[in-house]
């Protein structure tokens, strides 16, 4: 029976900020009587993660993803509810428990900027008390996998963004943690680096059973890495389930992309009623290219009608991209648990 590693029960986190008045009078007023604004970053979050899962946390900016990670790793305490890691209050983790987890912050480097990464790893070795031989083996093995073996002796500031993130990941996995939290690890990276990192995470999860919690804006990170998806919106969990369930739940939608001949009529709002007949929606408009979403049942008649409306040069039909599914969920505001 899988062991519960992460448990959140009715977790809420509220930040308090002081409002500043505008103009000189506003500032002076603020000196005498300050107004406090409470920002609810998380509310009523319920989450259980078993050992060995790879969970993707997605949401818009300000949805609460990073706040949730900070609560789970004990960086900040929760305001209400309980957040447990390894069965203990995450804010009260012992050193032994901290040794079993790791955090990678995509937008903030944890390694020393002006020394080679290997020197930072030696510091991490002492902090996590990794035995010497295992340290050497792990560094070189992971550097090989991430294709940065020849860059270990280079100062971090002289590495590319992709190489720096790979070093961060090596540092995070040095001590073979049971749980790893990655906060936007592929942000700003090139495609190749992103794919290398995703493959690395999948391999580590498969080989060592490491639990991975990954936050990202990039749908490809989620699709290619995660088994399970948690969608946050304004501090609430909108969806929590696996990707298969997500697709099944919002099944029956197709994305139809048409490329128009130069001589064809262009899209105009007057054509909206034509879409409404089929329950179709225009989701993207580009010069001479339109993308619609329509139900699977209406797909064929809708395509035939498109040929009547426009001079079509090319057409493609795809299952609805994950991104659109997510948008659908935000629009419907549904809360769903798998």
């Amino acid at each position: 029976m899988a062991q519960t590693v992460i448990e959140c029960r009715d977790v809420g986190k509220t930040y308090r900020a002081h409002l500043r008045g505008t103009g000189a009078l506003g500032v002076l007023r603020g000196f005498v009587r300050r107004q406090v604004r409470e920002h609810v970053a998380l509310e009523g979050v319920e989450l259980v993660v078993e050992a060995g899962e790879i969970v993707g946390l997605i949401g818009a900016n300000g949805a609460g993803k990073t706040t949730l990670v900070k609560c789970l790793t004990g960086i900040v305490p929760v305001t209400t509810g309980a957040c447990r890691l390894f069965g203990r209050d995450a804010f009260q983790l012992t050193r032994a428990e901290k040794r079993r987890m790791s955090v990678v912050m995509g937008q903030r480097s944890q390694l020393w900027w002006d020394i080679p990464a290997i020197d930072s790893f030696r510091l991490l070795r002492e902090i996590y008390q990794v035995p010497g031989e295992r340290f050497e083996q792990r560094v070189h093995e992971q550097a090989e996998r991430l294709a940065v073996s020849d860059r270990l002796d280079v100062q971090l500031r002289q590495l590319s963004l992709g190489e720096r993130m790979k070093m961060e990941i090596i540092g995070a996995f040095l001590h073979d943690p049971e749980v790893v939290f990655l906060d936007e690890p592929t942000i700003g990276l090139d495609l190749l680096s992103q794919e290398t990192i995703r493959a690395f995470l999948r391999d580590v999860n498969r080989e060592r059973g490491t639990t991975v919690v990954l936050t990202s804006h990039d749908m490809a990170d989620i699709e290619e890495t995660c088994d399970r998806l948690v969608i946050l919106d304004s501090g609430h969990v909108l969806f929590d389930g696996d990707l298969v369930a997500l697709r099944r739940r919002f099944v029956g939608r197709r994305a139809v992309e048409v490329h128009l001949e130069p001589a064809s009529r262009a899209w105009s709002p007057e054509l909206e009623p034509e879409l409404a007949r089929f329950g179709a929606v225009l989701v993207r408009e580009a010069p001479r290219a339109l993308t619609f979403e329509v139900s699977a049942e209406q797909c064929q008649p809708f395509i035939q009608h498109l040929f009547d409306l426009f001079q079509v040069r090319d057409l493609a039909v795809e299952r609805q991209p994950l991104e659109h599914l997510i948008r659908e969920i935000f629009r419907s505001g549904e809360v769903a648990q798998s």
Binding site: H18, R20, A24, V27, G30, F31, R34, R157
Partner: protein, 277 residues
């Protein structure tokens, strides 16, 4: 080379810059209290106790020509005046140069000096208000021993020296910050200037207590005329002839520092790559 805006436009921008800097300074209520109002108070308070102990142990009526009461008044005046004197944290230009943030000012259709002087005016206004508040509070609470200017003329002379001296300090910090175009070690240079000027200006201990030959050297330098001489004019220990001498030193220093500031800025910009660390 970007075209500079007409002087009238630059002048019109100045109040807005001052208002902006005022908002930055008052962003945190407690920060304003500690940085602007209480800054510079601990040392004079402690030195008051030290002088008391010195007089008690020596039994002397005067030290360096100062009675205990006069020394306490000296401390009160330096506490007030120090508020108007910028310190090395007043200007963060070197950090902006290191991090590449100064680029945004370079592409604005106004001279950077407008922004700089706007910041200075904001600083001066706030600190003057803080100094007056401090002096006013003391005058209300302890009118019998709280120092008053020796005369109206003395007050005006002191204000003149203080205003000019503060400009000299500001330009010095600007020049030292500009060294960031060439060096990485600006922070230590700023601190070195701070330590030396604190001694020369009489902030740590009145120059009158020091050997005469030191005083002769310090009288050639603007920090002395900004703080120590200003206080001694307010105490009536220096007269108008000394004021004129001080005025001369400050005006020459101001002219030299202004020229140096322009030079450092222009030369520095030529080196500026606009890249961060």
């Amino acid at each position: 080379m970007k075209p500079s805006a007409p002087a009238s436009e630059e002048l019109a921008l100045l109040p807005h810059v001052v208002a902006y800097e005022w908002r930055k300074a008052t962003a945190f209520r407690a920060g304003f209290l500690f940085n602007e109002l209480m800054r510079g108070l601990p040392r004079p308070v402690v030195m008051g106790f030290v002088y008391l102990a010195m007089f008690k142990s020596s039994g002397a009526a005067q030290l360096g020509g100062y009675t205990l009461a006069a020394l306490i008044q000296y401390l009160v005046w330096t506490a007030a005046i120090q508020k108007c004197v910028p310190d090395w944290r007043s200007l963060d230009l070197s950090e902006q140069i290191f991090d590449g943030y100064v680029t945004k000012y370079l592409v604005m259709p106004v001279s950077y000096f407008t922004l700089l002087w706007g910041r200075f005016i904001q600083f001066a206004l706030v600190q003057l208000a803080a100094a007056l508040l401090f002096w006013g509070a003391g005058a209300l609470v302890a009118p019998s021993w709280w120092p008053h200017p020796a005369s109206t003329v003395a007050f005006l002379e002191a204000c003149t020296l203080l205003a000019l001296g503060t400009c000299c300090y500001w330009l010095t910090f600007f020049i030292l910050n500009c060294l960031a175009f060439w060096l990485d070690v600006v922070w230590s240079l700023l601190n070195m200037f701070q330590f030396v000027s604190a001694f020369v200006s009489g902030l740590l201990v009145p120059v009158a207590l020091m050997p005469d030959r030191l005083r002769g050297v310090f009288e050639l330098l603007f920090p002395y005329w900004t703080v120590n001489a200003t206080v001694e004019i307010l105490l009536g220990r220096l007269d108008s002839a000394d004021f004129v001498r001080g005025l001369g030193v400050l005006l020459v220093s101001l002219a030299a520092l202004d020229g140096l500031a322009m030079l450092a800025w222009r030369r520095g910009l030529r080196r500026y790559a606009g890249v961060g660390a």
